[in-house]
């Protein structure tokens, strides 16, 4: 058995850096495409609704690990030379866009219909109606679920380890193999995820309770 010293801890922190970066990129990229998906999913065009419904269905009906594998090897087939980091980031962006799109579709539909009617009566165009009236309210409604998904996404980045990308969990695996202290190492790794995720989960459910109270 080897000790868990400064070097090992530093290696884990390097892994953590990639976990956080991956989650941030996935969340921002997924957020941008997610809004697009949500708008198409709630649009008047039937084709757009059907296609986005299918897109969401595929991502919600298949394992994240498989999505990672398919995108990882699919990008390579396109003949573009990309490193593992880009491929994995694309996969998480697509994954997040489907889930956030579905969450935001729900919250757009939860905005009272009178708001849309009032915006129409004021003569607002689609862009202005969405940007200034519907989306700000929908965003507020979606906050608990959006934070909940962010936690899912952070935990989900651990699967990049199976594809071979060195983030926190993969770094833990490597240290565990070197030091033969799996319980200690995975205990530390688990604790790091917990320290990141728990405050977020707590904030999300606190927000949910406060909003439920306010709605009463």
């Amino acid at each position: 058995m080897g000790p868990i010293g400064e070097n090992e801890f530093f290696f884990l922190m390097q892994g953590l850096k990639w976990t956080v970066l991956l989650a941030i990129v996935g969340f921002i990229g997924g957020g941008i495409f997610g809004i697009l998906i949500a708008l198409l999913r709630t649009s008047k065009t039937k084709v757009a609704r059907t296609i986005t419904a299918g897109y969401i269905g595929v991502f919600q009906g298949t394992p994240l690990l498989m999505q990672l594998f398919v995108v990882y090897y699919g990008v390579a087939l396109l003949g573009i030379e990309v490193n593992a980091w880009i491929a994995v980031a694309i996969a998480f962006t697509l994954h997040a866009s489907a889930f956030l799109g579905e969450i935001w579709r729900g919250s757009i539909e939860a905005v009272p219909k009178g708001q849309t009617e009032a915006a129409n009566a004021l003569g607002l165009h689609y862009v202005s109606r969405m940007k200034d009236v519907i989306l700000p309210q929908a965003l507020k409604i979606s906050m608990p679920a959006t934070i909940g998904f962010l936690v899912q996404l952070i935990k989900g980045t651990s699967l990049a380890a199976i594809v071979g990308f060195i983030e926190l969990t993969r770094a833990g695996q490597i240290i565990s193999n070197q030091t033969y202290r799996p319980l200690l190492v995975f205990g530390i790794v688990g604790a790091i995820y917990f320290i990141i995720c728990w405050p977020l989960s707590h904030a999300g459910s606190g927000l949910e309770k406060r909003m439920a109270k306010a709605a009463r």
Binding site: P63, L64, M66, Q67, L77, S158, T169, G190, F194
Partner: protein, 222 residues
């Protein structure tokens, strides 16, 4: 782009994919049952008079829900042998899935039990119903109906999560896919096909759950 797809190499291994799918279904089913047992026991323990028991249940739920399943399964995989328990990877995977799903089930079931109002139970007794009938008709059935949608979607998520069990070489679809990949080098074709199989599995499960719901919970609430 000069790549030519070769799905034939994957389809040649169809029997393996079929057995892998059955492995996935078995893993998911066993995991769900264990999760349900842990969920019910956890809800009972959460109403215990002992504060330590209640705190332990809450801590269990929070820890499991805020750490990745991959880290949990690695931890359990290495922890069991140190406790003198030697199991094959597939059984270890069932335990990990049960513990993970159990934590979510505790939260879901607790919500359902809390949704049954006190007045309804009193009304049941006032109508002269037996205690067993009150529990079955007034507590259990409405509570089941209330938790059914979230519990079943959690089960589908658990089924998709079984793919992570490949990391400890449990017997299921993703590990079958990885074996085929390393033999044929048709990475994209293998994972594309297997992703489609997962989609079929989860769609069928969704249909089945909807069918059950329509059959058992199809009564007016007002």
């Amino acid at each position: 782009m000069t790549y030519t797809f070769d799905f034939g190499a994957v389809l040649d291994r169809a029997p393996e994919l079929l057995w892998g799918s059955l492995g996935t279904l078995g893993l998911a089913l066993a995991g769900m049952l264990l999760a349900l047992v842990i969920g019910i026991l956890g809800v009972v323990a959460r109403t215990s008079k002992s504060e330590i028991t209640r705190t332990l249940v809450i801590a269990f739920v929070e820890v499991v829900r805020n750490t990745p399943f991959l880290v949990q399964i690695f931890f359990i995989y290495f922890a069991l042998p140190l406790m003198g328990i030697r199991l094959n990877p597939t059984v270890t995977a069932v335990i990990a899935l049960g513990i993970n799903g159990g934590a979510y089930a505790i939260e879901i079931i607790r919500g359902g039990v809390e949704s049954v109002s006190r007045g309804q139970i009193e009304a049941g007794f006032a109508l002269g119903l037996h205690k067993a009938d009150v529990f079955r008709l007034i507590v259990l059935k409405p509570a089941l109906r209330a938790i059914y949608p979230s519990l079943t979607s959690q089960f589908i998520m658990l089924t998709l999560t079984t793919s992570v069990c490949t990391s400890i070489a449990a017997y299921e679809l993703t590990s079958a896919a990885q074996r085929i990949e390393s033999d044929t080098f048709r990475s994209f074709e293998v994972y594309f096909t297997v992703t489609a199989i997962y989609l079929v599995i989860s769609t069928l499960m969704m249909g089945l759950f909807a069918l059950i719901s329509r059959h058992y919970f199809n009564y007016p609430t007002r």
